[in-house]
Structure formats: structure tokens, C-alpha cells
Amino acid sequence: MSLAIIEKEGLHLFVAELLRQKNTVVGVKDQSAVSSIPGDSGFYTYAPINSPGEMTLSFDVTLIPPKKYLLPAYEQLLTFNLSPGSIKADAPKEELIIFGVHPYDIIAINQMDKVFSAVPQDNHYLERRKRTTIIGIDSVKVAPRAFWSSMGADTVAGGFDLMLTDIGQCYVVDVGSKKGASLLKMAPRTREAAPAEVKERDKVRAEARKRCDANRLSFSYLELPSLLDGNEEHVIWEEKSHLCFSCGTCNLVCPTCYCFDVRDDVSIDLKKGSRNRTWDGCLLSDFARVAGGGNFRGHRADRYRHRFYRKGQFIYRRFGDIACVGCGRCSAQCPSDIADPVAVFNRLKEGI
């Protein structure tokens, strides 16, 4: 399909129209405006919006990835009576439009789609995914710790319903699905993109890629699985993990981390209950702990190593994807600054 154009002032009307049709629209909010902490440089976050002005499309990276809408941090799976007789599965009911998702985060969602649709399918995830519309936006601002350009995640070919690129005076729009095509009809005054505008899009993308290249892997990310082979006993795991708090932040903020815990909660009258899943993280000390006190990954260094292997090798061997998209959230958020995949992988490549 050919590319379309939405004019800058048309975008607000488009979002307003989506909201008017009673859609729940999630957009990126700039939290520096609302921060009460003096000197806080702020951060970006996904949240439901009530008017187009509340969201921004020029952000570098959000604190938490959009996975929170597809795999909620706390999600009800089942409800039951404590004196059993009835038990039923819960299903999400709301339709959601996420407006403004960067290519690296879309790639991460595509990976989760693969994981949860692998047999046995996780229909809770798939149902939520089906009800979610994704409107992408090419990254123009680059977060200080991002390195998506060296993870093959600067652009994305599919997984979105619409993909926007800000070329200054207007947005170039790529339509990724039927749903996207019919949504686009709600946008006012769209037209077909002129060849010059398509060229401009390539230029905008190339410039962003170049800015992101300031922080990069020193080799092709496709070499990661073989690079990790044989590095299980490298000194780096012990050395760096000495500074690890086992806080799990690196898992929490990662768009490709999807491990979860399952627990039952009971109503206050002890009559009803629900079974819920919550985010979990392999860096937390209890992640592999079993009853009786045994722990299959009891050493901090082993947990620290596990995450890098999972990113660079394990998921690849299982699903064919390198499970790091270079968003840089882990490196930016780790309190000890030891979670940066670029630093770890480049060091392994140097062989020191």
C-alpha cells in the first residue's frame, strides 16, 4: 500500500475523533510538567488521555514500555468461589488504542506475540493483544542510553496498525493492517504521500539512526548467540554482579521481559477469590527458590548472567529473536549501572 500524509494540525483532530468515538486512547505523557521534585528532569509514561493535547509524539523513551497494557503488572486470570462449584476465566473487555509506540517497542511486542501464541497458547495475552490497536511513531529523539540502531530495531516492518513518521511539516503514515486503514479514514484531510515526502521520511530515519549510533554494539547483534557460547564462566558475571542489588528493575523496565508469578487473592469475607498473575523478574533472589529453601539460581552472579543469556541467546534459540531491542531502559534505570547490554556484550567481544 502507498504511504499517506496527515497534516500536523490534522493529527489533533484525528486523536480527538478517536476519543469522540469512545475509544480508550493511551498516549505518551511528559511527566516533567507534573513532577513536584525540584530539579527532576522528568520522564515519559504511557497513560490514558482525555484530550489530544495531553500526549506527545516527540519523546525519547518511556520509563515503562507499553507491555503494561498487553501483559498487565497485575492481571486477573480466574475467579472462583472458595467453596468450589464455579470457576471461570476472566477476559479483558476493553478495546485500546496505543498512540505513539517506537519501532523497538513494537519489535518487543512482536516477540511477546510469538511467545504467547506458541502452543500451548496463552489466550489471556492473545485476547488483550487482539483488542489493542498500535499506532507507531518512528523514533526521532534518541534517549541517552538507547542503542536500538545496532539491534536491528531502528525501523519495524510489521506489528503496527499505523506507523507515523514526523517529517517536520506533516506525518508520513504507513498502514500496517485493515484496522489501521479504517482508522485512518477518521483522520481529516489525508492524502497520498508525494515521492519527495517519502524521501524525506528516509532521511529522517537515517538521521535518527546516526544519532543513535553514538552508542552501539561493536559488532552485529546477530553474532550474539555464538558470542555467548563458551562465555558462561567469564569473569564479568562475578565482577559486575558484585554491585547488583537484585532489585529486578532491569526486568521490570524491559519490553522483552515477560516472566510472571501467579498468586491467589481472597475477598475480605473469605467467600470469593481470584487467581492473578503479576510481573516477576529473574534477577530477584527468590525467582528460582523452591519450598524447603532450595534455590536453583541462588547466586547473584548466576541470576545476572541468566538475563544476558536470555536476551542474547536463549530466546533466539527458542523463537529466533534476539531478545534485546536496544531501548536502553535497563541501563538508564539500574541503580548500579551494571545492566547495560552494550557494555557487557562489547566487553565479551573484546575478549577481556
Binding site: 486470570l77 480466574l78 472462583f80 468461589n81 472458595l82 468450589p84 462449584g85 470457576i87 471461570k88 476465566a89 476472566d90 477476559a91 511467545v115 504467547f116 506458541a118 500451548p120 497458547q121 496463552d122 489466550n123 489471556h124 492473545l126 485476547e127 558462561e232 515477560y258 516472566c259 510472571f260 508469578d261 501467579v262 498468586r263 491467589d264 481472597v266 473469605l270 477469590g273 487467581r275 498473575r277 516477576d280 529473574c282 525467582f287 528460582a288 527458590r289 523452591v290 519450598a291 524447603g292 532450595g294 536453583f296 539460581r297 548466576d302 541468566h306 543469556y309 536470555r310 541467546q313 536463549f314 534459540r317 527458542r318
Partner: protein, 275 residues
């Protein structure tokens, strides 16, 4: 939801409870829909106590046309303690069966050396009884059983009758004896010098606590068994049983999917498997 939830358990009723030791109880469970589980020896189910949670438990009975199946549960934490507090007639949830099973077909005509450490007898019992019900299909059957103390031995009556069978060789030991114990004292590997095997025909099937494997595998290899003649069932923390939650990972391997039953040759070089 349009498609079914893989987390939705079927309801099942506890038909019988038998106290095995101070720590373990045997439960006879009947799915409320009256359908047999359709499990193979070595597989497990996710058991729910509603309001408390879920945990993986091996099916201890051999596959059967009847719907009733057995599981033997050690009280170890939240769900297992709650299970121990239930009564006959109480309703629990069951999902599964999950995981790989012992290669009962491939082992036809072979000699079977079962190595059961403690609770390891629970899944092995399914295979042992399966083999005994088809006695002619298998060669020699040797059962080694180790427990911590005489009081910790599971299935005492059943095992006593096994031990009397002429078509099965039974050897047992305890780590620490007591006044009444006349048998072998020592870890399970101290039983290995007491028998001979034909390593070409024999397959060892081992289930026990993590510490057992290294020593039992070494003892089996010392008897001439090749790596691919050793079959183990491994334990890991599990939450989903579906290959999603990530808890049971052993390097790139998901124990709930590719396991719990593994051929030793396939995992011997795997970081995290048996260390």
C-alpha cells in the same frame, strides 16, 4: 474469552487420603467430569487449592481406564500444607497432565534399573507399576530405594509386597538407621556394588533430590551405562506448566516443556542442569 484459558483447572474431588509418613499423604483424586487424565508415567499435574494457589505434583498411579488417580504430597509450603488440611470430599483443581514422560515404549524389552531417592519414588511408582502390569514387555526390573530414615520410607506396605516378588529385584537403604532397622545404612550409591547388570541392555531411571544425581549418575556410569542409558526427572520451580512464566528455566530449557523427564545425554553439558 473466545478461546479457552490454559490456566483454568478442572474440578476434582478427593476420594481418599492415606497418611504415609509425618510429612507425606497419598491422595486419591477423581476428576468431577469423570474422565481419566490420560497421563503417561512421569508426567505431572498443576494442583489448585482455591484461595491458596497452585503447585506441580507428579501423578503417582499408573495410567488407568478409571478416572481416579493418585498423588503423594509432601507438606513443604503454602499449597502443600493446605492440601494436607483437606478432607475426603473436598474439591481441588487439576490442570494437566504436563511435561514429558518416561520412555515406556522405547524401553520395552530392556532391563530397567529404577533409582528412587526419597520423594523420587512418587513419579517412579507410576512407571514401576506400569511395567509390572506388562511384566512380559520388560527384561529385568531392579528397584533401588533410598530414604533418609526408616520412618521416612513411603509406600511401606506396597514396597514390602514388591520386595517379595520373584520377578523384581529390590534393594533399599536409609541414610540414618534406628533401633529396628536391620537393612543397609548409607546413601543410595552404597547399593550399587550389590548387583550386576548388562550395561547394553540396561537403562537407569533416576528420580531424587538434586544432590542425588551427580553421585547416582557416576555410580551408574561406573557400572558401564552409557550416558544415553540414563534417564532423569528434574525438579525446578514452576508456576504455569505452559512454557510461559519462565520460572522452570534451566539455561535455555524449560523443564515444564522439555522435561521433567530428560535423557542424561541431552542435558549433561547444559549449564545449570545438574550443577
Amino acid at each position: 474469552m473466545g478461546a479457552p484459558s490454559p490456566y483454568l483447572p478442572g474440578l476434582a474431588t478427593i476420594m481418599k487420603i492415606e497418611e504415609q509418613t509425618a510429612m507425606e499423604k497419598l491422595f486419591v483424586v477423581r476428576p468431577n467430569d469423570g474422565k481419566p487424565l490420560g497421563h503417561k508415567p512421569g508426567q505431572f499435574v498443576e494442583v489448585s487449592v482455591f484461595g491458596v494457589g497452585e503447585c506441580p505434583i507428579s501423578v503417582s498411579s499408573a495410567p488407568n481406564k478409571k478416572a481416579d488417580f493418585e498423588m503423594c504430597v509432601r507438606r513443604a509450603g503454602n499449597v502443600t500444607n493446605a492440601l494436607h488440611n483437606l478432607k475426603v470430599g473436598d474439591v481441588i483443581g487439576i490442570r494437566g497432565p504436563y511435561g514429558t514422560h518416561f520412555p515406556v515404549e522405547d524401553l520395552k524389552g530392556k532391563d530397567l534399573l529404577f533409582v528412587a531417592g526419597g520423594l523420587g519414588i512418587v513419579p517412579l511408582r507410576s512407571f514401576i507399576n506400569y511395567a509390572l502390569e506388562r511384566r512380559k514387555d520388560y527384561g529385568r526390573i531392579i528397584v533401588l530405594f533410598g530414604a533418609r530414615t526408616p520412618a521416612d520410607r513411603l509406600f511401606k506396605a506396597e514396597i514390602a509386597s514388591l520386595a517379595r516378588r520373584p520377578d523384581l529385584e529390590y534393594l533399599e537403604t536409609v541414610d540414618v538407621g534406628d533401633a529396628s532397622w536391620k537393612g543397609n545404612v548409607g546413601v543410595i550409591t552404597t547399593l550399587f556394588p550389590k548387583f550386576t547388570i548388562d550395561p547394553k541392555k540396561t537403562y537407569a531411571i533416576m528420580v531424587g533430590p538434586p544432590v542425588m544425581y551427580r553421585f547416582a549418575i557416576a555410580a551408574a556410569k561406573a557400572k558401564g551405562l552409557a550416558d544415553d542409558h540414563i534417564i532423569v526427572s528434574l525438579e525446578r520451580k514452576m508456576k504455569c506448566g505452559l512454557g510461559k512464566c519462565g520460572h522452570c528455566q534451566m539455561g535455555p530449557v524449560y523443564v515444564c516443556q522439555e522435561g521433567p523427564v530428560f535423557n542424561f545425554a541431552a542435558i549433561k553439558n547444559l549449564e545449570e542442569a545438574l550443577s
